[in-house]
């Protein structure tokens, strides 16, 4: 039982941080072009964006 008092809050905090990370990425438009994101890693970026 004592293990649960630690583990359950940890699980919830981890889950919530994942959720907020997703919502943040969503609001930043990172899900607008998924196919393009896969390709952009191949582009050699010479100048700063």
């Amino acid at each position: 039982m004592s293990g649960l008092t630690l583990l359950i809050p940890v699980a919830l905090v981890l889950g919530l941080s994942g959720l907020s990370a997703f919502l943040w990425a969503l609001s930043r438009g990172q899900y607008e072009d998924l196919d393009g994101a896969a390709l952009r890693i191949l582009i050699d970026e010479e100048d700063e964006l």
Partner: protein, 707 residues
């Protein structure tokens, strides 16, 4: 468009973007252009969006992309934000539901594994703590829609969902308070999760298509210069024009109203209205149509109809009227819900009364009724349609076919005859060089410099062709355009010219093709020939459509002698010289005979017919009106996408039916268990997930449906 240094935004469709190299090439190629603030390619929707200042025009940007070797098709500037609000909200709800489902399931597994007493109660309380805010937030899309339907005295799929989820949550809370053994929090939350997946996919598909649809009437003229009765001129907005006014229309301007030419003679580009690419001659006494482009000479036009009385506005009204029948179409999921929702509610009510009569007590009876509601909740049913349609739409998108929404796919599958426009649909709607140009590399560079200086369709076609060959321009000076004749200039002192063959002393050939002569001083003039050619695979596509039982035929507004050779080459029947209203009538006649017409067209003149058809498609090169009236848009230079889209839609319909069968079969198995009171939360969760996964897996078979 606003003037000054205001930031402007423009988007182009780029059918040719295929790899990372293309993205890099376009983005790095556009950024150095003065006035361009940012350029970003969206590979998924095959578009580039450019923020720029008024220093550079959209047309110049389109040309710049052309020089990079890509064909940019313009789409109007849709508001960049706001239109995705619905799918964003659904995705947020989906994320919350996913979080809730995972954590509640984690706790539930422990309960199923045998947690008892205080631990079980603690876990139930924790589940309640997670599930209730989750249901309150993530359930909103369903609650809202159910409430809207109930208020209008109707029912839809969301009514049983809302009742099921709310009842299950409330009852589970009660169970938790009294320390009962069964709580259905996991069922309620994972139900929401699965349903939101379906809902989100459906919405995302509509969004993606909306991106490629353009706003209406972008190309109309904002106003005209009016000759005042007492002499002098004044600029008036299109809405302020009245019949009887005389407007001055310069070369390169669009007519702001319908009218009769009083003075002058010119050529007019009517492609917006008729879809015809070849310019038409217009002289005194001729009729000018609002929206068409005056190409070569200034004209004085007496206005006969303005504002919402122009033939352009008339066409828009016809489209609205024709499109109304389509809004009555009921989608397959809603048809299913009409039968399903009452059945589910009756069943739950019957189980409740049955157990009450059997003397089980209201608590036990309610538990059974809720189990029935959860089990029958159209989880797989809610996924069955959208998942299949989204997978199909994704496959079609890879082939350059954009489907506007799920209902378009359903109607496409039902089509049993197809009617095609000629210009721009069977033909490419663009002037193409016949064979390769008989010019040397140096001459091509000169020709490009000359062609760029004019907006005449032939010059544009030549420029586009040369840009496609990656020709650089030569430093031609003293460029001068002679309206109706051509352009000339000087290259290192020698005269070079591009224009009408007779003007440059060349001998014109037959009249079927359009010709332009190129002259470099000292050499004999060279003839360049252009025509609006039939799409390369038109014959194959028509044959395939015929083999699919779609009975293809041509409906064209063009002249009979132009249409008939095309019809013969393709082996299809054809009707020529049809006015927009005639096309609508032809389609109405077919529909009255219980045929479901797929209309394929591009021009403004096809707009009403596209709206009248059971379902419609337009090429991406279509006019704005054509694109917005159509249910699906195909990119590229081929006609085969029409046949592919129908084939894919039929495959989708098949899979959707299989999915319905799977979902109903699962209900037939699970419902008796629920009524018998044998369904524990564990069984409910397992049954629900299995049926959803089955439906998903079946839908994924559509990944290669676009063949």
């Amino acid at each position: 468009m606003s003037q000054g240094a205001a930031s402007e935004h423009v988007e182009f469709v780029l059918p040719g973007v295929k790899c990372a190299g293309c993205i890099a090439k376009i983005e790095t190629g556009l950024r150095p252009i003065p006035g361009v603030r940012s350029a970003r390619v969206n590979f998924t929707s095959k578009r580039v969006s450019i923020d720029h200042s008024s220093e550079v025009t959209a047309e110049a940007l389109r040309r710049a992309i052309g020089e990079l070797g890509f064909d940019a098709q313009s789409v109007s500037t849709v508001a960049p934000s706001g239109d995705r609000a619905e799918s964003r909200a659904l995705l947020r709800a989906l994320a919350v539901a996913g979080f809730g489902a995972m954590n509640v399931m984690l706790l539930s597994v422990s309960v199923w594994a045998g947690a008892a007493g205080a631990t079980r109660d603690l876990f139930h309380w924790l589940s309640a703590l997670i599930a209730m805010p989750t249901v309150a937030y993530a359930g909103q899309p369903f609650f809202k829609s159910a409430w809207a339907a109930l208020r209008r005295g109707r029912t839809n799929m969301d009514v049983p969902i809302s009742i099921g989820v709310t009842l299950a949550t409330a009852l589970s809370l009660f169970e938790t308070i009294v320390g009962g053994p069964h709580a259905y929090f996991d069922g309620a939350v994972s139900l929401l999760f699965f349903l939101l997946v379906g809902r989100y996919l459906d919405c995302a598909m509509r969004d993606r298509a909306r991106d490629s649809v353009t706003a209406l009437m972008r190309e109309t003229a904002p106003g005209a210069t009016i000759l005042l009765p007492g002499g002098g001129t004044a600029w008036k907005r299109a809405a302020e024009l009245e019949p009887g006014m005389r407007m001055l229309v310069a070369a390169g301007e669009r007519f702001a109203a319908d009218g009769v030419v009083e003075e002058g003679g010119s050529t007019v580009d009517c492609s917006l209205v008729t879809g015809e690419t070849l310019p038409e001659a217009l002289s005194a006494g001729g009729t000018a149509i609002a929206g068409t482009l005056n190409l070569s000479h200034p004209l004085t036009v007496r206005v006969t109809a303005a504002g919402d009385r122009t033939s352009l506005a008339e066409i828009m009204r016809m489209m609205e009227a024709a499109g109304q029948s389509r809004s009555l179409y009921v989608r397959i999921a809603d048809r299913a819900a009409r039968l399903y929702a009452p059945a589910v509610h009756t069943l739950a009510l019957l189980s409740f009364t049955g157990w009450m009569i059997a003397g089980a007590g209201w608590h036990q009876s309610l538990l059974v009724a809720v189990a029935v509601l959860i089990i029958t909740c159209p989880c797989a049913l809610g996924l069955a349609v959208p998942v299949a349609q989204v997978v199909a739409a994704g496959a079609l998108m890879k082939r350059g076919i954009l489907i506007k929404d799920g209902s378009a796919l359903e109607r496409l599958a039902e089509a049993d005859c197809v009617r095609l426009d000629k210009t721009g649909t069977i033909t490419r709607g663009r002037l193409q060089s016949i064979g390769s140009l008989s010019l040397t590399v140096d001459e091509k560079r000169v020709a490009l410099a000359l062609a760029r200086a004019s907006i005449h369709p032939l010059s544009r076609a030549l420029a586009a062709h040369l840009e496609g060959e990656h020709v650089a321009t030569a430093p031609v000076e003293d460029l001068r355009e002679y309206p109706g004749l051509g352009i000339d200039g000087r290259l290192r002192g020698a005269r070079v010219a591009l224009g009408r063959p007779s003007w440059l002393g060349a001998e014109a050939g037959d009249g079927a093709t359009l010709q332009v002569a190129f002259l470099a001083e000292g050499d004999a003039p060279k003839l360049l020939r252009f025509a609006d050619e039939i799409r390369v695979d038109a014959r194959d596509a028509i044959q395939r459509l015929g083999a699919m039982g779609l009975d293809p035929a041509i409906l064209s507004g063009d002249r009979r002698e132009v249409v008939m050779p095309v019809a013969e080459a393709l082996g299809t029947p054809a009707l020529a010289e049809l006015m927009p209203a005639d096309k609508v009538d032809t389609i109405a006649l077919l529909q009255a005979a219980a045929r479901r017409v797929l209309m394929v067209g591009d021009g403004l003149n096809d707009g009403p017919a596209l709206a009248a058809g059971h379902v419609s498609m337009a090429p991406a090169s279509a006019t704005d009106v054509g694109q917005s009236a159509a249910d699906a848009i195909f990119l590229g230079d081929k006609l085969m996408p029409v046949a592919i889209a129908v084939a894919a839609a039929r495959r989708t319909r098949k899979v959707v039916r299989q999915n319905f069968a799977l979902a109903i079969g699962y209900n037939l198995l699970a419902v008796p268990l629920a009524i018998a009171g044998q369904v524990t939360p564990l069984i409910a969760a397992a049954a629900m997930s299995t049926s959803s996964l089955l439906v998903l897996a079946n839908a994924l078979r559509l990944r290669n449906c676009a063949r």
